[in-house]
Symmetry: C2
Subunit: 463 residues, 2 copies
Amino acid sequence: MKKPILAAAAFSLLSSAAVQAPAQTGPAQAERLRDAALKDDVAFDIMEGLTTEIGPRLAGTEAEARARDWSVRKLKSLGFSNVHIETYDMPVWVRGEERAEIVAPFPQRLAVTALGNSGATPPEGISAQVIGFNSLAEFEAASDASVRGKIVFVTHAMTRTQDGSQYGYYGAVRRTGPSVASRKGAAAIVIRSIGTDMHRNPHTGVQMWAQGATPIPAGALSLPDAEQLQRMLKRGKPVTMRLTLTPRNIGVRQSGNVVAEVPGTDPSAGIILIGGHLDSWDLGTGAFDNAAGVAITAAAAKRIMDSGRPRRTIRVVWFGAEEVGGNGSDAYLAQHKNENIVFVSESDFGADRVWRMEPGLAPTNVAMVDRIAALLAPLGISRTSLPASAGADLGDWVRAGVAAFDLQQDGTRYFDYHHTPDDTLDKVDPEQLRQNVAAWTAMLSVVANAGEPIARTSSAAAR
Amino acid sequence: MKKPILAAAAFSLLSSAAVQAPAQTGPAQAERLRDAALKDDVAFDIMEGLTTEIGPRLAGTEAEARARDWSVRKLKSLGFSNVHIETYDMPVWVRGEERAEIVAPFPQRLAVTALGNSGATPPEGISAQVIGFNSLAEFEAASDASVRGKIVFVTHAMTRTQDGSQYGYYGAVRRTGPSVASRKGAAAIVIRSIGTDMHRNPHTGVQMWAQGATPIPAGALSLPDAEQLQRMLKRGKPVTMRLTLTPRNIGVRQSGNVVAEVPGTDPSAGIILIGGHLDSWDLGTGAFDNAAGVAITAAAAKRIMDSGRPRRTIRVVWFGAEEVGGNGSDAYLAQHKNENIVFVSESDFGADRVWRMEPGLAPTNVAMVDRIAALLAPLGISRTSLPASAGADLGDWVRAGVAAFDLQQDGTRYFDYHHTPDDTLDKVDPEQLRQNVAAWTAMLSVVANAGEPIARTSSAAAR
């Protein structure tokens, strides 16, 4: 990747004389910052520290609190201003024992994990016949009588894509399957994990009980175990499972967001709000999801900071409680919605390279998009007309009409690790991580220093 | 692969008129059998059935007994003769709870599993400081005082190879590390799993306590967890682990070998003894290790059987208790050592393609090797002068001077799954499995029908 980047940099040095912006914040400066970021070690250092010294950090737990304290120390040591924690309270659900066992006709254990907010079985588990469905639609169409008292198994056909777009559709098996099962009177539900790997590490993830649905035990089997269960069911004999899941609701606890700033020179120009989420699921150490996002955004902001004070304040927020329902972003929005936040961008899709940009600026700001696109092209990033939507933590701002920009990461292997024990530091490719920092640095350099106003988007309501 | 095979088959049809062996057992027949085996479904069917309907089958347990009964039914249904079980008694060790947790300075769980014959901690575990070593040699050189009362962690640098040859050297960390730790007075030992993957599934495996060594808790961390622990230790603060492993010795139980035959026409020509092992570790469903081996050998023997009675009896043995110490092969050798077994071959290295042959025939039988090599070349199998050694179940016969032949399988990914929960059917590539059956069918066709005597090897003692 180095060669084309250097060539492009050389070319733009020749042509930069024609550009009007001040030299220290113009394209040549942005290119220098971008190319220097390809040697970044700050992002990896943050990831390594957070995943090693804290590890799993489930929202509302003591581990997430330790992560916040760690983050404050780290962000201060990196030189950020106004580093602080903003707390909020939230109900907390924690995992218990987890065990799935085929009792008959083919006795053996299956790898299972509870989905977020799963109900609990008694400590000795429940035993019931398994009824299988090939899709959520097939399950929804089944009569209540056919599933009553049974353990429902729902599989699906999620495939691997670069943009991760299958998650939206097949994620519904996890998000709504448990509530459907509860409404139909099932004893419990186990789904094929929402993932693309073939390892015996089930994928957890949140699900919210629909209005009126009584919590029942809800788990995910690893993909090999889901296929094993399908082979058993295909043989036509009744299959009995003993399922033990003993999660607990431990009441209201404290969570929080960690905030850090790069102060700008022009308070009237508005605030740039970026970040990822600090919490993680409890099974892995949350490297891809989402130590990467907090690391990338902070490393890029630090590069802008170290190159001289930008025009606009850059505020980095490491959100709490994204995984379990977005309590951190909700609290943040409620508290800060009246501030002059003019632009948001979020990193929450792993540590692999950025492959495409999805701009979310008003038509009057098209020149900014052009400048960003020119800086990103040498990094192998395609320009698209897909609109930015940010992610779970900053999407509400976009929907409210705030300008945004998505640097879409390659999701080819994201759902191999997502929400599993396998989301660990060893999966991170430092070179791809550096490319992320370079892309973010380039984008921030433009957005934080743009001389023109950053407008609200007119199409916000239509999205 | 099809094209070169068909071309080779056509060529040999033209040239087979010059060969003296009867047409039905000559090269053309062997080629036809070989090529037909490339469409084999029998091996996959055996693997699918055994891994699905039985799953994990630890030696001496009720699951292994169910596997024997399943095997008898399957081998009878395939048309084999003299299908029966030969039992023996053995001491049995079973896994209990397993949990490793860093207590300080970076509290979090690590993925651990007990090694075979591990001692037990109390139910609440033991807590001790961790002392880390970069190699078995470094650990062996350490003073007893430095490790006394501590939890020893030994890592290593095993790498991926096609022939799996790193297992011999680095496997010593598992095989002898625990005894060294016991002798030095360590409280327990955890090793970096002997494997090449990067998933949070630790690799179990047997280890035998050296004479006089008191059993202590002995576990393996998954590779990502081993690296996590290394990162913690590197920070220089004392690291405390709480380790809970509660395996038990449950006394003497029954195990057994399953035997099936293809009767030959000439009892004086000796018996061909082939097979793999039926038992598996308890974590996975034993697909690569070793449903593949029993499936490949039986499928090939069936193809010979279905093509007409061979000259020599082919005896297929699915051994019990290979994983935990070879009790099945020991019992078999003791009972059958005086029979006229003239040739042995074993399949116990997964389900991936055969890439090289290692002949173990006497110099007087070089023409047989030539015939086998000619049949295997179109399957992409190289001829080498490495001597056959069979494997854990038939190696003793080779060392005693019985002729043998190794069809070496590609081990590139073997140690990704070996002894882990991930050793499941989904890892099997049916095309590579078929190539195994084709190679075995070709070899068996030559060996079972060879008109010449199969000699004992002269170099046996030297090995």
